[in-house]
């Protein structure tokens, strides 16, 4: 505390000193003004406003002020006609400032901080002002022992104010100039309020002006400690500070809430943006899957668990007696048979009861809706993200001009004070340099086109062969597995052949493609896209072969089902007939058959679900094992065997692994396709996927940092990873097809799942419409489903798409045009700036020659017209011939003209003069006064 109060005391001293200085200089320059200053508020007000303007222009640089004051005084000797514009100017300045302060709420945070400081400071200024005034009254600029007293007073006041608010730290942080200025502004405003009646303005303008002034006075009088708003003001300032602080904290909090941001940044700084783009994609996928998970579990799984019939109550929820012996075996469970199969994870477990529980939850309807909603939501999110990314991508226009120079001169972040962060920054600078080098090399490469073309064709040919081969292999394996399905004596290999082959293909083909792709010598970024496309085709082939095989299986099961359904019904009848026969008692009802004994159908939906879950799980296993063996084990071996090996393992073969972006991205996309397809038949799949993504985030981040080395040619990923999104969208569409097909065409199993007993799955919607909604809605829907309506609707949509497309094309075109124009304007401005500088130089010389005519405008030619316009509106008294005054007046107006909107207090007549009619003065700031623009080059913008 002693430190603070001391400092404040110190500052006070200086404040006084400044005052002294000011009055000193005043007296030096003109005794007249000195006399006038303590005088009454009539005419003596004017110099005050002058002072204030000076303050604003040069709050700290007092040297220049004196000189200017001289000219100012010279001005004040002129006609009273000048008063009007000048006062106006002052008012405008005030207004501008007021506006600025008010705008501060919209400003960026930092500015807010600044402003806040100032405001906080002004709260205290008032008190100091008081003291100072007292002092000024008593002994002018004396400063001596009495100061000590004042200081003490001051301290007392300060300590009392501490209770008001804890802004005392701001006490030291204000400058006396600002305080002074503010006070004078308030005075000025008050004066305006008092004299507004006399102003020759229109009523509307007066009212507007009056309101502004009053608002200003209200706002700052409190700050200066005069009005009753002092306490309120302090309170307001405090609350404002708190609020801003809260906002800032909240902003920080929001940033820390972005999951894995730090991890990803760390990876990015070491491995470049391309690897980071994978992790960003992974994070995005996790977010989307969390929503899907919420939908599925919240609306299907949990209601079923809570309100549905318990396990063992009905056949579909019971393990059949034949399987019960092995139902808990590990191997069976790992195949998702046994208890897993008859659990809430799969389609077959759900009952077809229309409503369950007390809440009459319509589970079948909800099941269907969630299935459709999953796709709807995914589509929406993917497309929205793509659109957003495209938006971001278009933002930066002109880079590439000084890439290396900027990297060289501006890449270091000077605020880094933490060693670890600095390491990361080093790494990222290095990486970004490497990225630029790669780009640069690509640009400068001259190539043999014919050879390159030949090689590219060759590479594509080879890759197509690979794709065809692998597709056939999968088809073959699927056929074989169908044969195996009818046999029981299967070895482990034969059981898992399909998954193994697919995983193996996924393992072998991508590196093969990569090797082949080296023939092509694309830029790594483009090569990555090709690679992605090819592996995507591979996976797609796999996926679709797998799907067609699955459909074969499903059709077989459907056949089988029919006979079983008959058998089941027959068995049930037989059971009851036998019961009555044995008991000879037609009255007694037979006890129901034990649910595990009922003959049941194959339930193809569950079978499909199990296939997908198995595929997903084996995919997870393969991915994780690959990382563990391919990366981790390799890294360990290379690292530690290197001590006792014939050649340098780290530098030459095999070295450390690189992070395989394409493989990982596609693994993710493909996996997501599995989830989308399988989620309808196995609601638990989404949960498994969420776990997978979560673990893989940590696991892969660790693996990449611990075991991989950056790519030899680190390249910059395109800013939007829209290519990934595009792949995702494609696979989403492709996985949508089979699911919708099954929902719309295949009959659901008769004894399992929420839709059992219906001819088609979507009948559940019809049922709801018929039973639960009013009748007219049903007819409405039937109308809506009429092809006569649907076809026009589709047509309309197509037309709309066409229209929007062409509109966006047009916008793109316009955008390009505008960019070109902007570039041109920039060049032009540059040229003009150079030119005006030179002319200004000339003007300066001229003015130096003619000291008395120093107020000559810098650019004479366009003036006469503007001049006339001004005179017509404003000062008819002035004759066009009287050069000095005329020009001065004209210049006055022209100075206020460039930005008419921001200066409401200017009483510019609504004449025909355009704002930019005076190119010579157009660039001068609004704050400059008459005669001050002497030899002044236009400010840099």
């Amino acid at each position: 505390m002693p430190r603070k109060s001391d400092v404040t005391a110190k500052m006070e001293d200086v404040g006084i000193e400044i005052d002294g200085n000011l009055s000193d200089s005043d007296e030096d320059a003109s005794p007249r003004r000195g006399k006038r200053k303590p005088g009454t508020r009539g005419r003596g007000k004017k110099p005050v406003s002058d002072d204030e303007e000076e303050e604003e222009d040069t709050p700290r640089n007092r040297k220049g002020a004196n000189k200017k004051k001289a000219t100012k005084l010279h001005d004040s000797d002129d006609n009273s006609e000048e008063d009007a514009p000048k006062r106006r100017r002052g008012a405008a300045n005030n207004k501008k400032k007021g506006g600025k302060v008010q705008d501060s709420e919209d400003d960026s945070e930092e500015e807010k901080g600044n402003k806040r400081n100032r405001k906080g400071a002004t709260g205290k200024k008032g008190k100091e002002e008081d003291t100072k005034e007292k002092k000024g009254d008593t002994k002018g600029k004396g400063k001596g022992k009495e100061d000590e007293k004042d200081k003490k007073n001051k301290k007392k006041k300060e300590s009392s104010s501490d209770t008001d608010s804890n802004t005392d730290s701001e006490d030291e942080s204000m400058s006396e100039g600002e305080m002074e200025r503010l006070k004078e502004e308030v005075e000025e405003k008050k004066k305006i309020i008092a004299t507004i009646r006399n102003k020759p303005w229109r009523m509307k303008r007066r009212l507007v002006h009056l309101k502004e002034c009053q608002a200003f006075v209200d706002k700052f009088e409190g700050a200066l400690g005069k009005g009753k708003g002092k306490k309120f003001y302090a309170y307001k300032v405090m609350m404002m500070k708190k609020w801003i602080k809260f906002q800032r904290d909240f902003e920080n909090f929001k940033t820390t809430c972005i999951p894995w941001e730090r991890k990803i940044k760390e990876v990015e700084s070491h491995f470049g943006s391309s690897v980071a783009s994978y992790f960003i994609f992974l994070r995005w996928m996790y977010g989307m899957n969390m929503v899907l998970f919420g939908l599925t579990f919240g609306l299907v799984v949990i209601p079923e668990v809570l309100m549905g019939l318990p396990y063992g109550s009905i056949p579909r929820k019971t393990v059949p007696r034949a399987e019960q012996a092995t139902a808990q075996d590990y191997s069976v469970l790992m195949d998702f048979n046994g208890y897993c199969k008859y659990s809430v994870l799969f389609y077959g477990y759900y009952n077809n009861q229309r409503t369950i529980g007390l809440l009459k939850f319509r589970l079948p309807l909800s099941y269907l809706m969630v299935g459709v909603g999953t796709f709807g939501y995914s589509l929406m999110v993917v497309i929205r993200t793509m659109a957003k990314n495209a938006d971001v991508g278009g933002g930066d226009g002109d880079e590439g001009e000084f890439t290396f120079s900027w990297k060289m001169f501006t890449s270091w972040d000077y605020l880094i004070g933490n060693a670890e962060t600095a390491d990361n920054k080093f790494a990222s600078i290095t990486t970004s340099f490497k990225e630029s080098i790669v780009d640069e090399q690509e640009n400068q490469k001259d190539e043999n086109i014919h050879l390159r073309r030949f090689l590219r064709v060759l590479a594509n040919l080879m890759i197509i062969c690979c794709l065809g081969g692998s597709g056939y292999l999968i088809f073959f394996v699927v056929k074989r597995s169908q044969e195996f399905a009818n046999r029981d004596d299967l070895s482990w290999y034969e059981k898992n052949e399909l998954e193994l082959i697919m995983s193996l293909l996924g393992l072998v083909c991508p590196p093969l493609f990569e090797t082949i792709a080296e023939l092509e010598e694309y830029h790594p970024r483009i090569a990555l896209k090709w690679q992605l496309g090819r592996i995507f085709a591979l996976f797609l082939g796999n996926l679709y072969t797998f799907l067609f095989a699955l459909f074969d299986e499903v059709n077989n099961k459907l056949e089988e089902e029919k006979s079983i359904m008959n058998a089941s019904i027959w068995a049930q009848k037989e059971y009851y007939a036998n019961f009555t026969l044995h008991n000879n008692d037609s009255e007694a009802t037979a006890p129901p058959i034990d649910p595990s004994d009922v003959i049941r159908g194959p339930c193809w939906e569950t079978a499909v679900g199990i296939e997908f879950v198995k595929l997903t799980v084996s995919d997870i296993q393969v991915t994780y094992l690959t990382i563990l063996i391919g990366d981790f084990a390799r890294a360990v071996i290379v690292r530690f065997l290197n001590y006792c090996w014939c050649w340098d393992l780290e530098a030459t073969y095999p070295s450390y692994g690189e992070f395989d972006i394409s493989g990982n991205v596609l693994g993710l996309v493909f996996n997501q396709g599995m989830i989308w397809m399988g989620a309808f038949y196995a609601p638990g799949l989404v949960g498994i996927n969420v776990l997978r993504l979560l673990s893989s985030m940590y696991y892969q981040c660790w693996a990449v940092m611990a075991t991989n080395v950056p790519h030899e040619r680190v390249f910059k990923a395109s800013k939007s990873n829209n290519f990934y999104m595009g792949l995702l969208l494609l696979i989403l569409f492709l996985s949508l097809l089979p699911v919708v097909y099954t929902i719309m065409t295949l009959p659901p199993s008769f004894d399992c799942g929420p839709f059992s007993g219906k001819a088609k799955m979507f009948d559940v919607i019809m049922e709801t419409i018929d039973l639960d909604l009013p009748a007219f809605l049903g007819t409405l829907f039937s109308y809506a489903a009429n092809p006569g309506l649907i076809i026009p609707a589709v047509l309309l949509m197509v037309l709309a798409i066409y229209y929007l497309n062409s509109v966006s094309e047009a916008y793109k075109h316009a955008n390009a045009e505008l960019k070109k124009k902007m570039q041109m304007a920039r060049d032009e401005e540059k040229n003009r700036r150079n030119n005006t500088e030179s002319t200004d130089q000339v003007m300066k010389d001229l003015e130096d020659l003619l000291p008395n005519r120093s107020l000559l405008p810098p650019a004479p030619p366009p003036e006469p017209s503007a001049d006339k316009a001004d005179q017509g509106g404003k000062s008819p008294k002035v004759k066009p011939g009287t050069a000095g005054k005329d020009v001065k007046l004209q210049k006055d107006v022209s100075l206020s003209s460039p930005n008419p909107n921001s200066r409401g207090a200017v009483t510019r007549p609504p004449g025909p003069r355009g704002p930019g009619s005076l190119p010579g003065n157009g660039q001068q700031g609004t704050g400059a006064g008459p005669g001050r623009g002497r030899g002044q080059p236009p400010p840099r913008h």
């Binding site: 430190r3 000193e17 222009d57 930092e110 400081n117 270091w412 600095a422 340099f433 490497k434």
Partner: protein, 195 residues
């Protein structure tokens, strides 16, 4: 500490610094207490070691250059005046200063002076040109040994090629300004000193 700051700092000195740098009184006293806290030798001047204790400068690859910028040629001590003069480069440009009469001497925190400060960081031999060797040195500081010398050389060449306009294979101050034309130097090279 603050009491010492205010007692050691004479009013006339504050006034002069104020005139020279444009800092406000409270800023000066504040910075003075910072100065004294950095001054481990307690002799009223700062040495290079004092600066190197600041973590931001210790980590910064260009830290030595920045520290050098505080010291006048050939000296290895800097007093408070010199300290403030260097810091004045980083004073934010205020709105009302922008339109100021530039016929008077340009303030230390003008765009040009800010850029000149940055330029000096790279211009080791003070010949008002950044040569290829100087660029290479900076690069080596910034990327360490992670990039081969060849590549560093090509980066330096590229940089010069981008920026050089008069073909003397070095970057002059004017060219430097041109390169950073679109960088918001006024904002980036400003520190918000507490008022």
């Amino acid at each position: 500490m603050g009491s010492r700051a205010s007692t050691l700092l004479r009013e006339e000195e504050i006034e002069e610094i104020k005139k020279e740098t444009g800092f406000s009184h409270s800023q000066i006293t504040r910075l003075y207490s910072r100065f004294t806290s950095l001054d481990k030798g307690e002799n009223g001047t700062l040495s290079r070691e004092d600066f190197q204790r600041i973590p931001e400068l210790a980590i910064n690859p260009l830290g030595d250059r920045i520290i050098n910028a505080f010291f006048p040629e050939g000296e290895d001590q800097v007093n408070f005046r010199g300290f403030m003069r260097t810091l004045a480069h980083f004073r934010p440009i205020e709105d009302n200063e922008k339109n100021k009469d530039a016929a008077a001497s340009e303030p230390l925190n003008s765009r040009t002076n800010k850029l000149l400060f940055a330029f000096r960081l790279y211009d080791l031999d003070r010949d008002d040109k950044i040569s290829r060797d100087e660029l290479l040195q900076v690069l080596r500081m910034m990327v360490g040994v992670n990039i081969s010398d060849d590549q560093l050389g090509s980066i330096a060449d590229r940089t010069i090629q981008e920026a050089d306009q008069n073909g003397d294979n070095s970057i002059s101050f004017n060219e430097f300004i041109k390169v950073l034309e679109k960088v918001d130097v006024e904002q980036k090279m400003s520190i918000r000193f507490l008022h």
